[in-house]
Amino acid sequence: MRRALVLAAVLTLALAHAASADEAGDDARLNARLAPDVAREVSALVREARTAGLPTDPLIARAFEGASRGADAAGIVAGVRRQATAQAAARGALGAGTQGDEIVAAASAVLAGVPADSLAHLRLARPGGNLVIPLVVLCDLVARGVPADTASVAVVTAARAGATDNALLRLRERIHTGIENGGAPGVTVNLVVRQWLQQSPGGSRHAEPGSEKKRSH
């Protein structure tokens, strides 16, 4: 029993040491790059995120991106706060077991305007599967002008029909090409995904974009 206690004490000390080392490392990085008051505010947001079990590196990266893009102090802090809020919303929508990269990708989708319930539908469409690529594709479509609802329905429908990551990336490229050739973003998405559903094995068994929304919302 004494041995178990020693092990527990060592583990506890190691945990405490690692946590404080993480904080010290983050503070050092922030102080080396940002003005002291900005670094202090960002550090507080990073600590909150760590306490909540959310990824912290994206917050620091966001602060550095703001500094590199020439944002002022308030803009940097606001950008980091938006990222933190989006990450919390993303994890809330996707569930507690969501991986770090999924949270970051989903936060990007949230920042792009994708509704949180669309993220939950995407999780249901791929239970147990990784959502990074579907979320990246979803965010890309919205960033290219596809209405968030239309993009969400398209990606959820394709995922529910069994689209692999590679299939989703190919869909994205076809949509991108269609938009570059003058197609209206929303129309192009519906057209490309409908074609894919008709051609993919088993795809015709699933709902087409448009009907999905009525069923799931």
Binding site: L7, A8, T12, G79, L111, D140, L169
Partner: protein, 200 residues
């Protein structure tokens, strides 16, 4: 017959003598006992060391200490899980386009080639979460023909945001990679996913 009887008596006495001799402690018994005890003591000493951690023993633990130990071990497991699940490992690049991809896993990173056509630019660099968005950290090389700028990097597994910086001031997303949301600083970044063993 008498001879036979005498022989049997002699044999019986001889047996008794031999049995009695075996019942007596031998001359070497005490030193052997001492050696045996010494060896046992040394082995017990060894068991207190490294092998002692694996020895099967009987423990009497108070429930409160058992609970404390379990909580500590669980906390360590959760912490390790969070650390290992973080966005930092790799093997295959999924993002298509000019920041495309060859794979080959090696110690959690994978080679990535960034390519940008930038007519008129005199200096191009890549900025991203992998270099702290430092425009001076990762310059691209002019290909020597046309307007192509190229950079080979090894990136950790996971999702990365990046952008190109032309002539130190013009930020431009990768034209053929997926776009990320506008991160509140007035421009889109590009996304690259370096795939690995985490099920990406």
């Amino acid at each position: 017959m008498a001879d036979r009887s005498d022989l049997e008596d002699t044999s019986a006495r001889l047996d008794e003598v031999v049995r009695a001799a075996y019942r007596q402690p031998s001359a070497a018994d005490e030193p052997a006992r001492t050696r045996l005890l010494a060896r046992l003591a040394s082995e017990t000493g060894a068991a207190r060391g490294f092998r002692g951690w694996f020895a099967v023993r009987e423990y009497h633990a108070r429930p409160v200490w058992v609970a404390a130990t379990l909580v500590a071990v669980l906390a360590a497991g959760v912490w390790l899980g969070v650390r290992l699940a973080g966005p930092s490992n790799a093997a295959r690049v999924v993002a298509r386009g000019s920041a495309a991809a060859t794979a080959a896993a090696a110690a959690g990173t994978a080679p990535v080639t960034f390519v940008l056509r930038a007519p008129g630019a005199t200096r191009v660099s890549v900025v991203g979460d992998f270099n702290n968005w430092d425009a001076e950290a990762t310059p691209m090389m002019h290909s020597g023909s046309g307007d192509l700028w190229v950079l080979n990097l090894r990136l950790p597994r996971g999702m990365h945001l990046y952008s190109f910086v032309l002539d130190g001031s013009e930020w431009r997303p990768d034209p053929s990679a997926p776009l990320a949301a506008d991160g509140s600083f007035g421009g889109h970044n590009s996304v690259i996913v370096v795939e690995g063993a985490k099920g990406l």
